[in-house]
């Protein structure tokens, strides 16, 4: 089995509640659901071109989670020289669960928290599938 790490990287999305939801789902995956395989990484390090961070991204598996269609997470990962193995937008989950809209940036509210639960479980399952598929 591959010993590569999985870096789940959300957008920093300072102005959007959906980005807050993406970040919270990331924490749920890397800290609670799959802590032994997954880590996160500051997206800002990729924007500044930090060598160590860009290297980590290139040598491992990357999941990009974006809070809007500007796709900052995916694009910054790509700028570091890596195509993410998995890239999702929070809106893709919302399209299926539109009753679960995150409310505000600082507090995503009840619906937002449910969305985080849905997202993180689906993400974990998807990452597991990817790891089992081998590489």
């Amino acid at each position: 089995m591959s010993e590569k790490k999985v870096y789940v990287i959300p957008c920093s999305g300072i102005g959007k509640a959906s980005a807050s939801a993406g970040r919270e789902a990331t924490y749920r995956v890397v800290e609670e659901l799959m802590p032994e395989r997954c880590e996160t990484l500051c997206l800002g390090l990729l924007t500044t071109g930090d060598e160590e961070a860009c290297g980590k991204v290139r040598d491992n598996i990357v999941v990009a989670i974006d809070g809007c269609a500007k796709d900052c997470a995916r694009k910054n990962v790509e700028a570091a020289g890596k195509t993410p193995e998995i890239a999702h937008r929070v809106q893709d989950y919302l399209k299926r669960r539109k009753d679960l809209k995150p409310e505000a940036v600082l507090d995503i509210g009840e619906g937002g928290r449910k969305l985080v639960e849905v997202m993180s479980r689906e993400l974990a399952a998807e990452i597991e599938g990817l790891l089992e598929g081998g590489d």
């Binding site: 809106q91 399209k95 809209k101």
Partner: protein
């Protein structure tokens, strides 16, 4: 023209034989156990599929989406909702299905001046009146696929912009007409494409649904021409012009975020064959006027936002 059409129709009827269900409607109705309107929706679905086509059970489909893959590929999807809750439409949207036509029994009843009952028992009179109003539905889908205008709306669109805080608002330089609901019509010849402005896109934030009107619908000026839902709100596209829907942007149904990425070109929603553009245009703003109108409006909004 008529020959062309005939050719197209023969082409279609030959295609028809090869698709399961005979190319008739694939009907997804309300399951009909809550109110009379729902029960009527169910009865109508049974009636429509009597002569062919396929019926999708909403409960089974909800539990097992792959069950109906084959049927759904067999023809245009007709969704029949009982009431405003629109469970059948919601189910279709959740599964990413393309809705070709939608009926809402409560609205149909309302138009006929009938009040539906609370018990889920279909009144036979109501049912027969509904069914007789369906005449023409059989043929309707055959006429559905109108080509989006070939050769039109292909020229590049130049934009000008102004900045407020860090937000940049863009407006085309020419060729577009706006109403005060911030919806645009791009007019070329007798056709117009409709959409919403960059301002709508920015204030509503990320779009997650586009619900188009049915092809063939006659739209009056200021009528709804489809609706949008974003992560923040829901809104109608309020048509700046009158005409008949000849095409919808299928790409937008799949990817409503095109409105955020490119509100004036790839984010178009609906194409109309114009009915009275000269009359309509009296009530519209051209690009220059919309630019200054919008600038004023945005300034006012920011002042209000910060209580100044």
């Amino acid at each position: 023209m008529s020959e062309k059409r005939k050719a197209r129709e023969t082409e279609k009827s030959s295609q028809k034989k090869e698709i399961p269900g005979g190319g008739k409607w694939v009907v997804l109705p309300c399951n009909g156990l809550d109110k009379e309107a729902g029960a009527l929706a169910r009865e109508m679905a049974l009636h429509i599929t009597k002569g062919g086509g396929n019926l999708i059970c909403p409960v089974l489909y909800g539990r097992n989406p792959s069950r109906y893959e084959c049927e759904l590929a067999g023809g245009p999807l007709l969704v029949i909702d009982g009431c405003k809750t629109g469970c059948a439409s919601k189910l279709a949207r959740e599964r990413g299905l393309k809705i070709a036509r939608r009926l809402n029994v409560r609205e149909m009843l309302k138009e006929m001046g009938i009040k539906g009952g609370k018990a889920p028992v279909p009144d036979p009179d109501n049912l027969s009146r509904l069914i007789s109003s369906l005449q023409g539905l059989e043929r309707e889908w055959e006429e559905k696929e109108v080509e989006p205008s070939p050769g039109l709306f292909t020229s590049p669109v130049e934009l000008r912009e102004f900045m407020m805080e860090k937000f940049v608002f863009k407006v085309p330089i020419s060729g577009y007409f706006f109403n005060e609901n911030d919806c645009w019509a791009r007019v070329e010849g007798t056709r117009a494409r409709l959409g919403v402005s960059d301002y709508v896109q920015q204030s509503a934030s990320d779009m997650v649904f586009f619900e188009p009107p049915a092809v063939g619908t006659e739209i009056d000026i200021f009528d709804e021409a489809g609706s949008l839902e974003s992560t923040k709100t829901a809104l109608d596209i309020i048509s700046p012009v009158s005409g008949k829907v000849v095409a919808i942007n299928d790409e937008l149904v799949e990817a409503p975020e095109l409105i955020n990425q490119d509100p004036y070109v790839r984010g178009w929603a609906v194409e109309l064959e114009l009915a009275d553009f000269k009359g309509d245009s009296e009530l519209l703003m051209d690009c220059d006027r919309y630019f200054s109108y919008l600038k004023d409006k945005v300034e006012r909004e920011f002042d209000e936002k910060y209580g100044r």
